[in-house]
């Protein structure tokens, strides 16, 4: 046995030979080789024989390659030519196909750019993988449903560094506003950071001037970004110049920072040295240095580890109880969050800037995928439907000896060609539309294809995928025709025609299902947004100008300004409060008889006597604050209804109540619930009390009610009056506009959704248009005969439209439950929301049906009105 096996040539070599020798069916040449092999084997032994066999293969390979290359080149050339001819011959189809793909790809590229941008946040820091930020969880203090806070007390930095040897650097950041003044060039800057010197070691913020090591060492040294250097200094060299801040402190400029990239989870323009704070806080911080104050929850703390290999173990050590360092008992816990998780990790309380959410990334990826699918389906549909026109070509090719594989290769190649053409066009479109898209998203996206290998390769991958996906079905379908049938004139068996039309119908149904889902979602989102905008908030919001107050001196003595303002004829009323009624941000511990130990904090409003009247907030019971009763200043509290129901009082008036004051007060009134924060949440308990003189820092907002006539004139007057009392530049806004900003994210979402819906529908309609023109084209004769037999125009229109309407309706029916569940989930984000109801569904039906009717009507009408003489002339 073994002897016989030895006589066989090496298996692998034989297999190669089998592949490269042309007479694959008969293997006679393989037999020849084997015979000769045997002879060599017998005369000179197995080694020589094997060597001989391999040598034969080595000799054949160059020829084989040359041959293959030659023929495949010839064929590719031919395929290419045919493809281009086809594009030229069927212009409408080609345009519809390419347009669909281009639009789909453009949208997908945009969405990809957006996702890439979102994912790239904070990754540009060299040590990004080992930077964490400290979060504090306060289980007793839940604000807006979240108990995580991005704030920590200043001594925590040293405590953590002591306790964890893994930490290499730690830095605290204080974010404030600053009135910056340089040679009377004076602005209020909102993005003013004060940070430890380690800040520059942890993060990668390169300096264009100054020394990274020492820039933040000295007290009252400051860094500013290039943009700010330009703004304040123009052509001057800012290094070493003195900036005056808050009319109090002189900072020396020790460096210029590159502008902070847009994909950073915090943005700042100025970076002051931490050491300055010792002087600044010494004024009002009683009892020791602020840096030992465990109650001062004002800083953001970031830490950076020695090496990234520690992160896993380090992570497992958290959360840590704050008690461990602080000494006094507290429920607070210390958490850490990796830097790169911050942007997509949603918001905690006290974020420096609103973060995005990973769910939005998923959501947009899904949309991109759907749009791409719709576009691919389009292509599949049209090329399968158009197959009839290419049957002869397929038949001839098969007769000439093309095997199925060749044809599949040809048609896949064609769809790849389409995909790449579409890619080129969409790259162009992306380049053109990028600025518009960036401003739509309010993000500075950049798009460089050719210097970014990753983008380029992923784009090519996407096109190849699109090409293969959209070309696969047509390729298999087209290559399956039997030449005998085609040439017999039987063209195609009814079975396969039915099968393919079933497949095509499924595609159309899917397209319309997707589009209808998007339409329904858009309508519901729009309705909800409309609802939010028009919902009675429980207070008046028209013609109210709000002005935030930063100036400390003005806060302490606002009376004269207020008097001055109220003297002006077109100003109806003025009031001062710590917050505006639509966004009461802070809460405080409160006390009443029978309060449980873990009772919640209440949001609080510090107001003037006229506040409730000013905003038209109505009392449910009790009385308003009164100037006659002097004890009201310290001892009167007004609660809202949710506070009363939370406490559980039947009769609230006259009950003992206290909110961080020395003297107990009592409840004098209860106001109707008004929306003191966004409509995402149920109205939370709120306490309203009067401003007293010791609480001057609670003077945060002026609200000015103005006459509806001559608004701009009044604004100018207001500006002038503020100028007289405060050096701070005035920034005002209208209350209703400010309220809208609460729902910015949803509005953006709605807007984007609208655009993408439009695109999806457009592509689906394109496909339907193509399909309709094919279907009517194929039925020209039928229609002609029907007409000669007396069919009316309307009956023919009905006949032709019926088919498409059936598909559209099935799509719509599928879309209903899908969109209902999706939107039901989305609406849960809002405590106050619309009922979904039937209107969006009916609206979507009307829109989809009308659009698809409109799309097919042109073709249908053309076919129905055609003169039967023309359509029957051939016979």
């Amino acid at each position: 046995m073994t002897k016989k096996e030895f006589k066989n040539p090496p298996k692998l070599a034989e297999r190669i030979l089998r592949l490269i020798y042309p007479d694959r069916g008969t293997f006679t040449s393989l037999g020849d080789f084997q015979e000769e092999y045997l002879e060599v084997y017998q005369s000179s032994g197995p080694f020589k024989a094997k060597l001989w066999y391999w040598k034969q293969i080595a000799k054949s390979i160059p020829n084989f390659i040359r041959n293959e290359a030659h023929w495949s080149f010839v064929m590719i050339h031919n395929y290419f030519k045919i493809a281009l001819r086809n594009i030229k011959r069927h212009k409408t189809f080609s345009i519809i196909n390419i347009t669909g793909l281009v639009i789909g790809m453009t949208c997908s590229i945009f969405i990809m750019l957006f996702i890439q941008y979102e994912m790239s946040h904070d990754r540009y820091h060299e040590k990004a993988d080992r930077i964490f930020r400290i979060l504090i969880r306060q289980p007793t203090d839940i604000y807006q449903g979240i108990d995580m806070y991005n704030i920590s007390p200043p001594p925590l930095k040293a405590a953590l560094k002591n306790d964890f040897p893994e930490i290499q650097n730690a830095a605290r950041i204080l974010r404030t506003e600053g009135l910056i003044n340089y040679k009377n060039n004076c602005y209020l800057e909102g993005r003013f950071f004060t940070a430890d010197p380690e800040f520059l070691k942890i993060f990668t913020f390169p300096l264009t001037a100054g020394d990274l090591e020492t820039a933040l060492d000295e007290p009252f040294s400051i860094l500013l970004t290039e943009e700010m250097a330009e703004k304040y200094f123009g052509d001057e060299d800012p290094m070493g110049k003195i900036l005056n801040i808050d009319n109090k402190y002189d900072y020396k400029i020790t460096g210029i920072l590159r502008n902070v990239p847009g994909n950073s989870h915090f943005q700042f323009d100025f970076l002051g040295s931490f050491n300055s704070l010792y002087t600044i806080f010494s004024e009002w911080h009683r009892g020791g240095s602020f840096s030992e104050d465990w109650d001062m929850y004002s800083f953001k703390t970031y830490i950076q580890l020695h090496s990234s290999s520690d992160t896993g173990e380090f992570n497992s050590k958290f959360p840590v109880r704050l008690e461990k360092y602080r000494g006094r008992p507290t429920h607070d816990e210390i958490y850490i969050q990796p830097l790169t998780d911050i942007h997509l990790g949603g918001n905690v309380n006290d974020e420096i800037e609103a973060n995005s959410d990973i769910r939005y990334v998923y959501f947009f990826s899904a949309i991109a995928l759907l749009i791409m699918l719709v576009a691919c389906f389009n292509y599949m549909n049209l090329s399968t439907a158009g197959a009839v026109q290419r049957m002869k070509e397929v038949g001839i090719r098969k007769v000439m000896g093309a095997c199925r594989l060749n044809l599949i290769r040809q048609f896949l190649g064609e769809s790849l060609l389409f995909a790449f053409m579409a890619l080129l066009f969409s790259l162009l479109l992306v380049k053109l539309l990028l600025p518009a898209f960036s401003s739509l998203l309010e993000k500075e996206l950049s798009f460089q294809v050719f210097n970014n290998i990753k983008t380029l390769s992923s784009l090519i991958c996407v096109s190849v995928l699109v090409g293969i996906l959209s070309g696969s079905y047509p390729a298999f379908f087209l290559s399956s025709f039997l030449p005998v049938n085609i040439i017999k004139g039987k063209w195609i068996s009814y079975k396969s025609l039915n099968r393919s039309s079933g497949f095509r119908n499924t595609l159309v149904v899917t397209q319309f299902a997707i589009s209808t889902v998007l339409v329904i979602c858009t309508i519901i989102i729009y309705n909800q947004l409309q609802y939010i905008r028009t919902k009675e908030l429980g207070f008046k919001k028209e013609y109210i100008v709000t002005v935030p107050i930063q100036d400390e001196n003005l806060k302490k003595r606002y009376g004269p300004l207020k008097y001055d303002l109220s003297q002006y004829s077109k100003i109806v009323d003025v009031t001062v409060s710590n917050f505006l009624p639509f966004a009461v941000a802070n809460s405080q511990a409160v006390d009443w008889d029978g309060r449980p130990d873990d009772g919640p904090d209440f949001r609080y409003l510090c107001v003037e006597h006229n506040f409730l009247d000013f905003y038209g907030i109505e009392l449910a019971e009790g009385r308003n604050f009164s100037k006659e009763i002097t004890t009201d200043i310290e001892q009167a509290y007004i609660l809202n209804e949710s506070a009363v129901s939370l406490i559980g009082w039947d009769e609230a008036i006259g009950k003992r109540f206290n909110c961080q004051r020395n003297v107990d007060g009592q409840v004098i009134g209860v106001v109707n619930n008004f929306h003191c924060h966004s409509l995402h949440r149920q109205i939370e308990p709120l306490v309203i009390f009067l401003l007293d003189e010791s609480g001057w820092w609670d003077v945060r907002y002026f609200s000015i009610k103005i006459n509806s006539a001559d608004v701009s004139g009044t604004l100018a007057v207001i500006e002038k009056k503020f100028e007289r009392f405060s050096p701070y530049p005035l920034s005002y806004s209208f209350l209703d506009e400010k309220i809208d900003t609460l729902y910015r994210r949803e509005q953006k979402l709605g807007q984007n959704f609208g655009y993408f819906t439009f695109v999806a529908i457009f592509i689906a309609c394109l496909g339907l248009f193509g399909l309709a023109s094919l279907a009517t084209g194929q039925r020209t004769k039928e229609i002609g005969i029907r007409k000669t037999l007396g069919a009316s125009l309307s009956s023919i229109c009905f006949l032709l439209t019926k088919e498409f309407m059936k598909l559209t309706s099935i799509g719509i029916i599928i879309a209903f439950p899908v969109s209902y569940f999706a939107m039901h989930k989305w609406l849960k984000n809002f405590a106050y929301r619309i009922d979904i109801g039937w209107i969006p569904f009916i609206g979507a039906v009307i829109i989809t049906v009308l659009l698809s009717l409109g799309t097919v009507s042109y073709q249908v009408f053309k076919a129905a009105t055609a003169n039967p003489v023309d359509s029957l002339r051939y016979e």
């Binding site: 006679t28 037999g31 020849d32 080789f33 020829n63």
Partner: protein, 109 residues
């Protein structure tokens, strides 16, 4: 008639010589023997294919044999026009070589 290339000529002749056993391996051996050069299989297949296409040869498959690992032989046979062609070749080459003995060729400088 059309002229054949030299390898075609040699292969055709070899097929005639081998009669019943004219398949690739013995053809190749015959060629090696008569020309003294090494012939690869490819160099034999190619003229065989062309001759067949020209109608000078025809082929059929033999029963598979174990010696060849169960593969068939492709056995070639001259067609009448193949024989005609051989006759032509013989006549022409005899004609052109008429009166030139090998000796005289070797004597020329």
């Amino acid at each position: 008639m059309k002229f054949l290339s030299r390898p075609e000529e040699l292969v055709l002749l070899a097929v005639w010589r081998l009669k019943e056993n004219a398949y690739c391996v013995p053809i190749k051996k015959q060629l090696v023997k008569s020309t003294g050069h090494d012939w690869s299989f490819g160099a034999v297949y190619d003229p065989l294919d062309r001759l067949e296409k020209k109608g000078l040869l025809e082929s059929h498959f033999s029963e598979p044999t174990a010696r060849r690992g169960g593969k068939r032989k492709r056995i070639y046979k001259l067609t009448p026009s193949g024989i005609m062609s051989l006759i032509d070749i013989k006549t022409i080459s005899d004609e052109v070589w008429e009166g030139i003995p090998l000796k005289t060729l070797k004597e020329e400088p």
